[in-house]
């Protein structure tokens, strides 16, 4: 029997409605969540992403403070803008749209570390990574929260389940492990962190009750690598040529047609976790506003 398809667009829309309600209630207390994005230059991909974030802010009731800096901006100008946003009480979240232009790429890590940990909505700052790992209140990267929300809102429990994550990277794998390993409601899983280089990887993935994959290799997870009834969360993104239509399309890391016959549930690519990312950034911004207001 084919798997339940986890609809990221639907879940995203649900969450946005809830966030609108949160924003309204905050407004009654005189608080408006504020999100500041720093965009350097005119890279088309970056401009598109920032546009999506702006639209989401408008939809939900978050004030957006987009900081557009020219391509040739100096390091000190970039840092003084970050400092200014750090100090602005109307700003609850700050993100830097990556990548930065070539002449600034060597200070990307420094720039991210310069964002106040209290406004680091992307959750990249070492202080937030550490606090989240230790089970303390902290920002967590949007993809990790998205994976978690998809699981919970689809009615799946993580407690005592074997969660297998490939790879154990800083962007997806470790942040998700950070959430799901905690001795908390909707977590408390038995977590296995694998690498692409893990010998005999299939022996680990076959044990998974919940499999999270983000290796960016098409058809990496085949049907023989999973057990019956697995829940597969696919965050892979691969641009391939469709064998029939010869057109280019996006697929995940999972051999979807084969695996869906074995899995209990599967997140498709596209239409799974991807559509949730901007929404979870908005959720982190609203959370930040609530936290600075002392509501949570």
């Amino acid at each position: 029997m084919p798997a339940k398809i986890l609809d990221g667009r639907k879940i995203s829309a649900e969450i946005r409605e809830e966030l609108k309600g949160d924003a309204r209630r905050l407004l009654e207390r005189g608080i408006v969540p504020g999100l500041a994005g720093i965009l350097v230059g005119e890279d088309p991909g970056s401009v598109t992403y920032v546009g999506l974030k702006k639209k989401a802010c408008e939809e939900i009731g978050i004030t957006e403070f987009m900081c557009k800096l020219p391509e040739k901006v100096t390091e000190s100008e970039l840092f003084s803008n970050i400092e200014r946003l750090n100090k602005d009480p109307l700003v609850h979240g700050i993100f830097i749209q990556l990548p930065l232009p070539k002449h600034l790429s060597s200070c990307e890590d420094k720039a991210l570390a310069a964002i106040s940990p209290l406004k680091d909505v992307d959750g990249f700052h070492a202080e937030n990574v550490g606090k989240a790992w230790l089970g303390q209140s902290a920002f967590v990267p949007a993809v990790a929260i998205a994976l978690h929300e998809m699981l919970i809102r689809s009615g799946y429990k993580a407690k005592d389940k074997e969660v297998v994550i490939v790879p154990a990277d800083n962007m997806t794998g470790k942040p998700f492990a950070s959430i799901i390993v905690q001795d908390k409601e909707n977590a408390s899983a038995n977590v296995t962190l694998c690498h692409l280089t893990t010998p005999n990887l299939a022996s680990y993935t076959r044990r998974a009750d919940i499999l999270v994959v983000a290796v960016n290799r098409p058809k990496f997870i085949t049907a023989d690598m999973v057990k019956e009834g697995v829940i597969v969360l696919d965050f892979g993104s691969n641009f391939v040529e469709d064998p029939v239509t010869k057109k280019r399309k996006t697929v995940g890391d999972v051999d979807f047609d084969a695996v869906k016959e074995k899995a209990e549930a599967i997140s498709p690519v596209p239409g799974g976790v991807g559509p949730m990312l901007v929404t979870m950034l908005m959720a982190s911004t609203v959370w930040s506003a609530k936290r600075s207001a002392g509501i949570i």
């Binding site: 700052h125 070492a126 550490g130 230790l134 303390q136 074997e162 950070s178 296995t192 962190l193």
Partner: protein, 292 residues
């Protein structure tokens, strides 16, 4: 066939000998590694730990001082003291004894220690850097486990490590250390805990099994596949059935498991012995960072 007994004391002695050489090299550059410990109040366990640190600093050749603060100190004064030590160029490592008296905010105090001097790795920034694979200080106990594995010839690279216990002090940092794509790490890591329903099924998968749950003799022979490397981080005090006196045992049922394991650490004399010297390793590293 009985397991190889991994001698933690021997490994600790090796590390100590190497440290003495490093300290001598620092002396030629006019640097004397110095660890300052902060003791608030008179908690007996902290006092005992303090004595242990004093002893090992003396053995290795690391200077140490204790900032003794009154039990009723206010948070702002504690933070001022930490700030003073952060700025003191002669101080290379800062260790805050826990628990702190109830009126103090432990998280805030730990976060105030400069990551460059956080030799116990308690600042969340240190924990974050560790998880991200950036250079930082590892907390003594998990750092010691890694050293013990590597130096006893049982490097975790490419192996399946199963950690039982997910505490902030041992289990979680250990995951962070062993999962890095670096020498002495690069393992596939599974973490479970004492509440895990099918725990024996999971522990039997391990090439290297690390017990860090704080539950005496909870790892029994049926939970271990023949040929596993067993590392016991547990420290439990139970009455000896013969003498009635309290004795130290680990989380592993040593007598039974040693008949199945390929190698095993005893308690005492295993990981505990190495833990004590890792704080010295971090302090010396902090001092060496000044020479770069």
């Amino acid at each position: 066939m009985t397991a190889e007994i991994i001698d933690g004391r021997k490994i600790a002695a090796e590390i100590q000998a190497e440290l003495k050489q490093r300290i001598q090299r620092l002396a030629t550059k006019g640097i004397s590694p110095k660890l300052v410990t902060i003791l608030v109040g008179e908690d007996p366990a902290s006092l005992s730990y303090l004595r242990g640190i004093g002893r090992i600093c003396g053995e290795v050749g690391v200077l140490t001082e204790t900032a003794k603060l009154p039990a009723n100190i206010v948070q702002s004064d504690l933070l001022i003291k930490i700030d003073e030590l952060n700025k003191d160029t002669k101080v290379h490592g800062i260790l805050l004894f826990l628990p702190l008296p109830k009126q103090l905010n432990t998280l805030e105090a730990e976060s105030a220690i400069s990551p460059l001097k956080d030799v116990d790795g308690t600042n969340p920034i240190s924990a974050g850097k560790m998880l991200l694979g950036e250079e930082t200080f590892f907390p003594s106990t998990p750092f010691g486990v890694q050293e013990l594995l590597v130096r006893s010839g049982h490097s975790p690279e490419g192996k399946h490590v199963v950690i039982v216990g997910r505490s902030n002090i041992v289990g979680k940092p250990l995951i962070g250390i062993l999962v890095q794509k670096q020498k002495g790490a690069n393992a596939t890591v599974t973490v479970c805990h004492t509440g895990t329903k099918n725990i024996a099924e999971i522990t039997q998968q391990a090439d290297i099994l690390i017990a860090a749950m704080g539950k005496a003799k909870a790892i029994t022979a049926d939970m271990v596949r023949p040929g596993t490397i067993v590392i016991d981080v547990g420290v439990n005090f139970i009455p000896d059935p013969v003498t009635g006196k309290n004795k130290q045992v680990g989380d592993v049922d040593f007598e039974a498991v040693k008949e199945k394991a390929a190698a095993i650490t005893p308690v005492p004399g295993g990981t505990g012995a190495v833990t004590s010297v890792m704080l010295m390793v971090n302090t010396v590293r902090a001092a060496e960072a000044l020479t770069r």
